[in-house]
């Protein structure tokens, strides 16, 4: 199972309290994880990736295993610890404001 941690506003929107676990078939990539996430929670469509282009929204970043994966190819394999469920895939809202 893949573990996904969302920012607070998206947890509220999806009505989830904490970490999400997803069953991802095949290769564990950003695209596969986000596709599975949006299938389970359609309300998240358009909030992490743009509709249509599926590009990451500008103020969203992806992290895992203390690495910034925001600029990795959506079809690149995620770290093995994520694929094994040992580490979560983090969807993070960029820090802005002061």
């Amino acid at each position: 199972m893949i573990r996904v941690l969302l920012p607070q506003h998206l947890r509220t929107l999806a009505s989830v309290d904490d970490e999400i676990t997803l069953d991802v078939r095949g290769g564990v990539t950003q695209r596969a994880v986000l596709d599975a996430l949006e299938r389970r929670y359609p309300v998240l469509q358009g909030t992490i990736r743009d509709h249509g282009t599926l590009k990451r929204r500008p103020f969203i970043r992806y992290f895992a295993c203390e690495r910034d994966l925001s600029h990795e190819s959506p079809d690149a394999a995620l770290p093995e610890q994520v694929a094994k469920g040992e580490e979560p895939f983090l969807v993070v809202g960029a820090i802005a404001g002061g």
């Binding site: 506003h9 929107l13 358009g46 909030t47 509709h51 969203i60 809202g93 802005a96």
Partner: protein, 371 residues
């Protein structure tokens, strides 16, 4: 006894204020969608329990919420606003071509007769329609594809379509875009005509241009649909021929910059605005918050100040932030960027803050409920 429900969208959530017809004791519920910008909420005239809300965030984009029980519970519905076909470009602030990009919904206008039909005015300027209760959206692209579209330019707040007026004639609608101007359709949204003759905007290269005027808000009384009142960037204007010609009605106003304009529920020639000092100083003149009322359809304006702060007041009143109820006497409401919602139960003669410390208010709509 009648009731009133005020829908206030703010920078950090939605608030719903309710009172009986006396409009003295108010109950505030919220924040709904805490932490999100609520650009606009509006209820269906055909089903007062059906409310549409535009929820958005710079991080997470656009979410559309719908309530079927008067705002007690909400359901996220369709947020897919896809422009129809190739989008082309409009002008950027510096005059260079800039591709059309969807950013947010500025305004929902529910159908006068069908609760499932609702129009959305969006940034970058376009008009969308849903006929399934906001689950899916289709662009009425005749507007964006108008031959002047490539000349449209954003105002300081973005290129938003903010005003949608559904005329009693079901084929006719009016919309306004910052900073493109006002447009009218007479065929249900297939084709559009700029209706900006008589507007004069000295801050644009051609002050009487067909498009390019920064229209802030337009209001109509349904009993006199060919008469529209406009708060332009500067200038308060009116038309009596459905926008074919406009004339200035600023009259004795000390400043005619502002954002809101609305019409009394029972008197089509009684108009309300809130003057703001200038386009570079968005607060009331002299720190005194005044609503100006004309009972003659413009030109002669009376300051309404009772109950409003008359010193050290430096809030703004944004374009979606004024509304009226249809009780007798007509109630008038407006919200400020300082988080106040002011209400008058006597046509503006006196005012009370029915909420004082909300986040900055972006929009105010009012429902008059049978019970």
């Amino acid at each position: 006894m009648s009731r009133v429900r005020v829908l206030a969208g703010t920078k950090k959530g939605a608030f719903i204020l309710t009172a009986d017809g006396k409009r003295k004791n108010w109950k505030v519920s919220g924040p709904h969608f805490a932490g999100w910008e609520i650009y606009h909420m509006k209820a269906s005239p055909a089903d007062p329990n059906r409310i549409y809300a535009s929820q958005c965030s710079g991080w997470f984009g656009q979410v559309v919420q719908r309530s079927d029980d008067g705002g007690k519970t909400w359901e996220a519905v369709g947020n897919k606003f896809e422009y129809d076909g190739p989008t082309g470009t409009h002008q950027w602030y510096d005059g260079t071509p800039h591709p059309w990009e969807f950013k947010r919904v500025w305004h929902f206008e529910p159908s006068l007769t069908d609760p499932d039909t609702v129009f959305a005015g969006v940034e970058d300027a376009a008009l969308f329609k849903s006929t399934d209760g906001a689950k899916t959206w289709t662009e009425l692209s005749g507007l964006r594809k108008h031959s002047t579209g490539q000349k449209w330019q954003p105002g300081a707040g973005g290129m938003g379509l903010h005003t949608i007026i559904l005329d009693p004639n079901p084929k006719r609608m009016f919309v306004a875009i910052s900073a493109a101007g006002a447009f009218r359709t007479d065929d249900g949204g297939k084709s559009w005509k700029p209706i900006n003759k008589g507007l004069y905007s000295k801050y644009i290269p051609e002050p009487t241009a067909e498009v390019g005027h920064c229209v802030h808000r337009i209001a109509q009384h349904k009993a006199k649909p060919n008469t529209l009142f406009m708060q332009k960037h500067w200038d308060v204007m009116r038309t009596d021929d459905a926008g074919e010609n406009w004339r200035k009605i600023s009259g004795n106003l000390k400043t005619d910059f502002g954002f809101v304009v609305d019409v009394h529920a029972h008197e089509p020639e009684t108009v309300y605005i809130v003057p703001i000092k200038s386009d570079s100083e968005h607060y009331p003149l002299g720190g005194k918050l005044q609503v100006m009322r004309s009972k003659k359809g413009g030109d002669k304006w009376q300051a309404l100040t009772k109950g409003l702060p008359q010193k050290d007041c430096y809030v703004d009143v944004l374009r979606e932030s004024m509304a009226v109820d249809s009780l007798d006497k007509c109630g008038v409401y407006f919200g400020t960027t300082g988080g106040q919602v002011y209400a008058s139960a006597n046509e503006g003669d006196s005012w009370t803050a029915i909420a004082q410390n909300l986040p900055a208010v972006l929009s105010v709509e009012v429902q008059t409920l049978a019970r």
